[in-house]
Symmetry: C2
Subunit: 376 residues, 2 copies
C-alpha cells in the first residue's frame, strides 16, 4: 500500500483522477497547482495569505536558494519552512532546469554539472547526491532528482544521451534519499520524485517512463516539455508518455500553469503542476478571466468600475475595480502586481478545485469542454 499517495476517484471518460498526497506538513488534494517561490517567496504576495486561498504546497528552487542565501543559512533557520515561515508542504526543484537555462558556460559529465553563479560568477559543481542532500538539508517535503534538461531538438543521439544520464542520476538520487530517510522517523520522510526526460522522441520517452516507473520513487515527473514547442506537440508527448508511467504514483508535469494547459493535462492524467506564469503575468498587468486573459492596461477598462471577474471571490475582486487596477498599473504602483497576483493565483486554485469537484462528480470531460469554450 502506498502511504504517500492515494487515488480517490478515476474518471471513467479520461485519465483524470483525484487523489491525496500526505507529507510531513499536511494532506494535499490532487490535482494540485503549486505556486513557484523561487527565492523563498512567491513574488508580490505575502505567503501568509496563501493558505486561506486554498494553497497546500508551494515550490522552492534549489539552484537559487543554494546561491542565495545558501543552504547553511536555511538549515540554521530551521529549514525552508522555518526560514520563510510556511507550515504547509514544500516541493523543491533540483535545479536541473535552472543550471541549463540560466548558464551559458557550464560543463556536464556523468558525475554532475558545473555552473557559474548568476550572482557573482563563481563556479559550482552539483552531483546528483549533492542535489538530494541539499534539498533534504532544507527540509523539503518532496525532492526532485537532478536531470539533464535539453532545449527543443530532434537530435535522437543527443536526446538519448541526456536521457540515459538522467536515468543514471535518478538511481543515484533515489539511493541517496533512501539513505537519508533511513535515519528519519516515518512522519519525517522526504519524498523523492524521478524525472522522465526524452525530449520529443517517443521511443526514448517510453524507455524513460518505464525506467523511472521501475525505480522505487514516490512520484514521477515529466520534464523537458513546454520548452517552446507547439501546445499540440506538448499534449501528444504527454499523453504518450503518461501511458508508460506507474499510475500508482502521482504524476507531476513540470512547468505548466496556463488555464487551458492545466485543464488538458489533468484530462491526460496529470496530478501536479507548477509554473511561474500566473505570478509573472500579474506583474505585466494581465489577469485570467473565465472568458480568457485580459490586459488591464487596455483602454476599454479605463471607466470599468466592476471587478476583474464578477463571480470571483478573491480579495482583489471583492475590493477593487478594473479601472483602479488599471490606474495602478499605468502609474507603476506595486499594489498593481500585488492585487493581480492574488487574483491570478486564486483563479488557478479555483480552476483546479473545480477540476477535482468535476472528476469526483463524473463530469470532468464536460467541465473541461465548457471551460475551454469560454476561455478560448
Amino acid at each position: 500500500m502506498n502511504e504517500f499517495f492515494k487515488v480517490l476517484k478515476n474518471d471513467s471518460m479520461s485519465r483524470a483522477r483525484t487523489g491525496n498526497m500526505v507529507t510531513a506538513h499536511g494532506i494535499i488534494k490532487t490535482p494540485v497547482f503549486m505556486p513557484v517561490g523561487t527565492k523563498a517567496t512567491i513574488k508580490a504576495i505575502d505567503h501568509q495569505n496563501l493558505s486561506g486561498m486554498g494553497c497546500e504546497i508551494i515550490l522552492g528552487n534549489l539552484y537559487h536558494l543554494y546561491l542565495q542565501p545558501g543552504i547553511e543559512l536555511i538549515k540554521k533557520a530551521g529549514g525552508l519552512h522555518g526560514f520563510m515561515n510556511w507550515d504547509k508542504s514544500i516541493l523543491t526543484d533540483s535545479g536541473g532546469f535552472q543550471v541549463f537555462s540560466l548558464n551559458k558556460i557550464r560543463k556536464i559529465n556523468d558525475d554532475g554539472v558545473e555552473f557559474k553563479s548568476v550572482i557573482d560568477g563563481s563556479l559550482h559543481f552539483f552531483t546528483p547526491e549533492d542535489v538530494i542532500r541539499y534539498q533534504a538539508d532544507m527540509g523539503s517535503d518532496i525532492m526532485m532528482a537532478l536531470d539533464e534538461c535539453i532545449p527543443f531538438t530532434e537530435d535522437a543521439v543527443y536526446t538519448g544521451a541526456a536521457a540515459k544520464r538522467t536515468l543514471k542520476w535518478a538511481e543515484i538520487s533515489r539511493k541517496t534519499a533512501e539513505s537519508i530517510n533511513s535515519t528519519r522517523g516515518k512522519n519525517e520522510m522526504a519524498r523523492v520524485f524521478g524525472i522522465v526526460q526524452g525530449g520529443f522522441i517517443k521511443s526514448i520517452r517510453k524507455f524513460c517512463a518505464e525506467s523511472v516507473s521501475g525505480m522505487d520513487f514516490d512520484g514521477i515527473a515529466i520534464g523537458g516539455l513546454s520548452v517552446g514547442e507547439e501546445r499540440q506537440k506538448t499534449l501528444e508527448i504527454l499523453q504518450y508518455t503518461s501511458e508508460f508511467t506507474d499510475r500508482l504514483k502521482p504524476l507531476y508535469f513540470m512547468g505548466l500553469g496556463d488555464p487551458v494547459g492545466l485543464a488538458d493535462a489533468i484530462y491526460h492524467g496529470v496530478d501536479m503542476f507548477d509554473c511561474v506564469m500566473p505570478t509573472r503575468i500579474s506583474r505585466m498587468g494581465s489577469a485570467f478571466t473565465k472568458n480568457g486573459k485580459i490586459n488591464i492596461k487596455n483602454s476599454r477598462f479605463e471607466q470599468d468600475f466592476g471587478p476583474i471577474e464578477e463571480s470571483c471571490s478573491c480579495h482583489t475582486c471583492k475590493n477593487y475595480s478594473r479601472a483602479y487596477i488599471r490606474h495602478l498599473y499605468k502609474s507603476r504602483e506595486i499594489l498593481s502586481s500585488m492585487l493581480l497576483t492574488i487574483h491570478n493565483l486564486q483563479f488557478i486554485f479555483d480552476l483546479v478545485e473545480n477540476a477535482r469537484f468535476h472528476i469526483n462528480n463524473g463530469t470532468y470531460v464536460k467541465f473541461r469542454e465548457d471551460f475551454k469554450k469560454n476561455y478560448l
Copy 2:
C-alpha cells in the same frame, strides 16, 4: 463650539495635546500620522490592511491624481473613497508643493500657477478656486488651500511676496469651500485648511500665522519647513509659529514623519502629520526600531532569526525574521518592501498612539525624553 475639532487634554508641561477630529468618514484621534497615498495607493501596502493597524486617515495628492487618472474619472468612480475603496477619512494636498518641487518650467502670478505635466509634458493652470473644486470633486474630507512653496532662502523680499500671495489664495480658497459647502448637508461638509508660509523669517511667519488664524478655516497647516534645513531650525520656527496660531483649530505640520521629529513636533503642539518617509525607507531596506533605524541589508542581520523588533505586534514581526527580510531585500523581492512598509507604518502608528496615551496620562514629557534617549 467647533464641531470639527475638539481638544480632549492639554499637557501641562508642554504644548502637546490630544483631540478628536470628526469628518464625514469617521472620528480621528489626534495627534495623528497620515500615510501618504500620492497616486491613490500607499506604496507597497494594500490599504485594506491599514484600518486594522490603527490608521484613521490617509493623504492623497491633487497634483498627481489630476494628471493621472484625472479628476473626472475619480468623480465617476464615486470619488477617491470609491475609486480606491477606502471608507475612512482622506485629506488631499493642494498640489502646491508638487507644482513647485517637480516643475522646472512654471509660471506663477496672482491668479495661480502654470505647470508642466510630468507624464506627457502638457501645460496646465491651477487657480486657487480650481484646486478647491477639484479636491471637493474627489470627495476629500479635508482640503488644502493652494500655497506658494519656496525653497530654503534668507531673502525676505521673496519670502514676503510668496507669503502674501499664499494669504490671498487662502482667502479665495476659503470662500470657494464655503460656497461648495453651502450646497451640502451638515454631515457631508468638506473641511478646508489654510497654510502658513513665511520661510525662515519670524516676522513673516508671525504675520501669516495670525492672518490664517483670523480666517474662518477648519484647521491650520504649517508649510515650507523640513525643506532641507537643520532640524534645530525647523523646531525653532515651528515653536515660534505655533504660538500665533489659533489653538482651537487642529495644527498640521506638512511633510514631517521621522520618529524623533514626530515626538518633538507633538511636544510643540502639532496635531497632524504626513510624510512619505516611513514608506520610502521601507523600499530602501530600512526599518524603525526603538533603538533607532536599522538597514536590513547590514551583514550583522545575516543569521539574525529574531523579528525586526521583539516587542512589535505588527504582521511582519509576528511572522518573519531579520535574516529572511534581509534575504528578500538582497534578492530584490517585492515582499521585502511589503513587509518593511507594514512594520514601519505600524511603528509610527504605535508611536503616535503612545504619545496620545502619555498626553492623556500627563506623562508626555518623560515619554518623549525616554523615547529620544533610546532612539538616538
